[in-house]
């Protein structure tokens, strides 16, 4: 019988992380940023039907980058978790914090227990009653969770996007200005023009009654992106 060869845990984790990072780097990027009216989510997505951005609950949205099948499974589980909790208790008891925690546990477990880690990163975003209490959580492939302020990004060019937004981001932007900034960030990171048709954009709009999530239809999107040149 051949002896099972020894691999140090350190080496194993490093290999897994590298594998996951490579997988995610192949995918397109997503930006979420706070604007005066709520939270804006901009994803590069050539497909009109395979969504990367979605509603989780009344005030909470989801965005996933990397392998579609993998973050889609996470999205569905999140919706199930949120709906069950909201039905069993009350609507206001469903929070981004608890969802982000649950995601972190699940993704972290997969990273350490399974042979293949998830090649996906996700965002859980919540719009607050007031502008200063929005919550942006970024959960990485290893389950590590980051609580971000103002703006955040995931996907292949997440770091470049963050670098761009670090200098340019300002609080209290209008929707149009915020969308143009996100588009410019994507253009800078990819060093090519971004067309409205390849963007998937949604907002958590504080002013809406009930469910805050809204997708921006193509016509509205095109008008806003083109207004910025």
């Amino acid at each position: 019988m051949p002896l099972p060869y020894y691999v140090s845990p350190e080496q194993m984790m490093q290999d897994k992380a590298e594998y996951a990072r490579k997988g995610i780097a192949k995918g397109k990027s997503i930006i979420a940023l706070e604007y005066a009216g709520g939270v804006l989510i901009v994803a590069e997505n050539p497909s009109a039907s395979l969504n990367k951005v979605s509603e989780l609950y009344d005030r909470i949205a989801f965005a996933g980058a990397g392998k579609y099948g993998e973050f889609e499974r996470l999205r569905k589980e999140g919706i199930r978790y949120a709906d069950m909790k909201g039905y069993a208790y009350g609507r206001e008891d469903v929070t981004a914090k608890s969802l982000a925690n649950a995601y972190s546990q699940v993704i972290g477990n997969i990273f350490s227990m399974e042979i293949k880690p998830l090649e996906a990163e996700i965002l859980v975003l919540e719009v607050g009653e007031e502008a200063d209490v929005n919550e942006l959580y970024r959960i990485a492939f290893d389950g590590s969770i980051a609580d971000e302020k103002g703006y955040t990004s995931i996907g292949g060019q997440a770091e470049e996007l963050k670098l761009f937004l670090k200098d340019k981001f300002a609080e209290g932007l209008g929707l149009e200005a915020a969308l143009q900034m996100a588009t410019r960030a994507l253009e800078a990171a990819a060093s090519q023009k971004v067309k409205a048709a390849t963007l998937e954009v949604a907002v958590l709009d504080r002013a809406r009654l009930g469910r805050k999530f809204r997708r921006l239809p193509q016509a509205e999107l095109r008008a806003m992106v083109e207004a910025g040149g």
Binding site: E55, K76, I79, D83, Y87
Partner: protein, 227 residues
């Protein structure tokens, strides 16, 4: 069944732009009023509404589950369930309640929705066993349901305008409250009026309470002078 508040008269009728769905506000416990301002008409999702008659507790619980399920489906699949699909799902839920119904905890809804594919409003009625039947013009259930139906039978015309349709619904509820002790009429003293919702291509919307109040006042006034 004594000790359980029961819901009373609810109705739906088609009009030009979709469906009007309405209900009185009183819950009854035996010969006592259990609540004067209970809600019996709920928006199920963006394009449909449900009105309930029966034991208030299980009714409200069923509506809450139904709303959750419709929103859940929409989020998971990225699109609304078809109106047919929603009506069928509600039928299954009514059917599942049959054992409780046999013990007296009845839940019988009316479901009204706007069918975006067919571009028309549609009304579904149910029986205790989960039977689902589509109504072509109007329907009403509850202890005052028969009285409201008699009223609708005389007042209903196809293709009513919104104003007339709302008035017709309120006339029927007024008649039901007049004949049936379990149905609450408009309460001008406390300012409690029936719930009225419109289900159209634009979504399920409330008719504002002040509009309902003035329509009720007009109906009461017209009946005063007639006597």
């Amino acid at each position: 069944m004594p000790g359980v508040p029961v819901g009373t008269t609810v109705l739906a009728l088609k009009y030009q732009a979709g469906v009007v769905i309405a209900g009185d506000r009183q819950a009854t416990e035996g010969y006592q009023v259990a609540s004067r301002r209970i809600e019996k008409v709920y928006a199920a999702d963006e394009y449909s509404a449900v009105a309930i008659a029966g034991a208030a507790g299980p009714c409200i619980e069923m509506v809450r589950l139904f709303q959750t399920e419709l929103a859940h489906y929409e989020k998971i699949e990225g699109m609304h369930l078809s109106l047919e699909g929603k009506a069928n799902r509600l039928a299954q839920m009514v059917r599942a309640n049959l054992p409780l119904a046999m013990q007296g905890l009845l839940v019988v809804p009316i479901f009204a929705g706007y069918d975006l594919k067919r571009s028309e409003g549609r009304i579904f009625k149910y029986d205790v066993a989960g039977g689902r039947y589509e109504e072509a013009e109007y329907f009403s259930i509850g202890s005052g349901g028969k009285d409201a139906r008699s009223s609708l039978k005389k007042l209903y015309r196809p293709g009513l305008a919104e104003e007339e349709a709302v008035r017709t619904a309120l006339e029927a509820l007024y008649d039901a409250a007049d004949e049936d002790r379990g149905t609450g009429g408009p309460d001008f003293v406390r300012g409690i009026f029936p719930t009225v919702k419109l289900v159209t291509r634009g979504g399920a919307l409330d008719v504002p309470e002040d509009r309902v109040a003035s329509a009720c006042a007009a109906i009461a006034e017209a009946r005063k002078t007639a006597a």
